[in-house]
């Protein structure tokens, strides 16, 4: 078990290096630099001032020197300084990371809960109206662009019905103790987590249904039924447990993409997360910020993958034997 975790972690280092080099090169290939954007925003035209800023931002050095310096500083666990935000990269990311992590976790929970439930229901009632309805809903949520869904949900649930706030993560100045705050965040979380989660739920429902149907045909299920176990118990304890494996695989694969997928949802719900930060930073060619987010992101994905490996061990003991 430790070996798997160690192996995963050892793979992270070259991965992070590659992420840095690839994105550094990409951002530098893009027309317009952070320097152009900043001086344009600041309306600076004085050549002496431009030179001074070039030096301050460190863009007067050759690109490869900048890259080498950056890698060296990451190796010392320093993600650098973002002149655009006028703050250390890590501080800015840490300000916005919790919101994204909360959103990711909530969206994943929604996806798992809705997806797995729907998938199980569809497989148990296979080829009935339930099955068809669930399939239809799954395709609907898979096919509907998420920003469209998000705006429509805002209009209905926040504006027309007034059940949920229109955006943001907290009621400003609510500070009524940790418990009330947590409730407040959850209240704000419902719409964005649902809008983001339903897309993934659609995939999970389909995969779960297929995988359940397959497991139903296996011998041990027949054995369980023959033993006289109740149908509910067979489904929950025997079939579901085994049918969950593909879902876990999928989960591991999607953790990386969910970070990017939240860009659009964060835009619609003004969720103060990393997605908007990343989008802005790409648009302003703010490479220290983009690289910082991606480096942390790849670490996150690596940790997630290690977790998935461990989950696998729990769900499927055969892997341990191998």
């Amino acid at each position: 078990m430790n070996r798997i975790v160690l192996r995963r972690l050892a793979q992270v280092i070259p991965l992070v290096l590659a992420v840095i080099v690839l994105n550094f090169v990409l951002i530098h290939l893009a027309p317009g630099s952070l320097f152009d954007v900043m001086t344009a925003e600041q309306q600076i035209s004085d050549p002496a001032m431009l030179d001074q800023l070039r030096h301050t931002y460190g863009v007067d050095q050759p690109t490869w020197v900048q890259l080498a310096k950056y890698i060296w500083s990451v190796m010392r666990l320093d993600l650098g300084f973002s002149y655009r935000q006028n703050a250390p990269v890590l501080n800015v990311i840490m300000d916005q990371l919790p919101a994204t992590v909360i959103l990711m976790l909530a969206a994943t929970s929604v996806a798992l809960l809705v997806g797995v439930t729907a998938g199980v229901l569809a497989s148990v009632r296979v080829n009935t109206i339930w099955d068809n309805l669930i399939s239809l809903a799954a395709v609907f949520f898979f096919a509907a662009p998420s920003f469209w869904l998000g705006i429509m949900m805002t209009v209905l649930f926040a504006v027309k019905l007034g059940w949920f706030p229109v955006g943001g993560i907290r009621t400003i100045g609510a500070g009524n103790g940790p418990f009330a705050d947590a409730l407040d965040v959850m209240h704000h979380l419902v719409l964005p987590a649902t809008a983001l989660g339903l897309f993934y739920a659609a995939t999970y429902a389909r995969v779960m249904r297929a995988s359940m149907l397959e497991v139903f045909r296996l011998d041990f299920v027949r054995t369980a039924r023959a033993k006289g176990l109740s149908p509910a118990r067979v489904v929950l304890a025997h079939v579901m447990r085994n049918a969950l494996l593909p879902i876990v695989t999928l989960l591991g694969l999607q953790l990386g993409t969910i970070l990017g997928g939240s860009v659009v949802i964060e835009a619609v719900f003004s969720w103060p997360g990393i997605g908007s930060l990343l989008f802005d930073s790409v648009m302003s060619r703010n490479f220290p910020m983009v690289l910082g987010v991606l480096v942390l992101g790849s670490l996150l994905v690596a940790v997630a993958n290690a977790t998935v490996d461990l989950l696998y061990l729990r769900l499927d003991p055969r892997i341990r034997a191998r």
């Binding site: 290939l29 027309p31 395709v139 096919a143 509907a144 694969l253 990386g256 997928g261 790409v282």
Partner: protein, 281 residues
């Protein structure tokens, strides 16, 4: 060969939903092909009063957008763009995916390790951000959006191809080929690939659907190609009017939904027809 095709068609036809999906895809393709005859003018031309609702003016059956362009014409031409993006992106992704997956599995060892790390690298970077970066480097041309979508969606195909190749590479028929002194490339392309292809094709058909959604997100964020009509751009343009003239978003939104739905149904049908083992089990 003909027998195989008929057999395949019969199995595909057994799935009624897949047939409906195929029908829908054919309709979309038909509209795309017929666009120049249905709407001889440039679809991006301003032709009427802005914001005419659908079914109000018979000249503009689906209404006009905020500038006064014919939505029906934009949908028809948008079908071309959207399908082209979907197909080309899927083709790009499939080519990259198969090449990497097959090479990794066939040669194994350090090549496998390297290529899988490479795949992981692409999985780590958030897809949408990667697409946006590539589009801002190459420029906002529809070709580049396509390439960008292809570049970010190949990883699942590579993994699947690898898994299929792994299962097949030590089979007797492959060993026989090796013994006969066949070249690696010939074994990979001529012998293993045809057997590994069915599940890959199914996945590729789903990538088309994904590419359509990607394009709409890129346009939503304002990075689409302004010279061509595409469904995603239409939604992006219409989103500021979502409260007053919501049909501008709804019509292309529905078009995307129907297309993605149809592609999914076809994908399911292909899955059933190409992987009979799964079905009969």
């Amino acid at each position: 060969m003909l027998n195989l095709a008929i057999d395949f068609a019969r199995r595909f036809a057994r799935n009624r939903a897949a047939l409906i999906g195929l029908l829908l895809v054919i309709v979309v393709v038909g509209v795309a092909l017929a666009a120049p005859w249905l709407f001889p003018r440039n679809p991006l031309r301003i032709v009427g009063r802005p914001e005419i609702w659908p079914f109000v003016n018979s000249r503009y059956p689906l209404g006009t957008d905020s500038l006064g362009r014919d939505i029906a014409a934009m949908i028809a031409y948008g079908a071309r763009t959207t399908l082209l993006i979907g197909l080309c992106a899927s083709l790009t992704a499939t080519l990259i995916g198969i090449t990497i997956g097959a090479t990794a599995a066939y040669f194994g060892g350090w090549i496998d390790e390297m290529l899988m790390r490479f795949t992981e690298l692409f999985q780590t970077i958030p897809n949408l951000i990667f697409v946006l970066t590539i589009v801002s480097i190459l420029g906002q041309k529809i070709e580049y959006v396509t390439v960008a979508v292809g570049i970010v969606t190949w990883t699942p195909i590579a993994r699947l191809t690898r898994a299929e190749f792994m299962a097949l590479r030590d089979r007797e028929f492959v060993q026989a080929c090796r013994a006969m002194g066949m070249g690696n490339l010939r074994i990979m392309l001529g012998e293993i690939l045809p057997n590994a292809l069915p599940p890959v094709i199914v996945l590729s058909s789903l990538v088309i659907a994904g590419a359509v959604l990607f394009e709409s997100a890129v346009s939503f964020l304002g990075l689409g190609d302004p010279n061509v009509s595409s469904w995603g751009r239409l939604i992006g343009d219409g989103r500021t009017l979502i409260r007053t003239s919501w049909y501008i978003c709804a019509v292309p939104g529905l078009a995307i939904m129907i297309t993605v739905l149809a592609l999914n149904l076809v994908g399911d049908g292909l899955n059933d027809a190409l992987n009979p083992k799964l079905r009969d089990r």
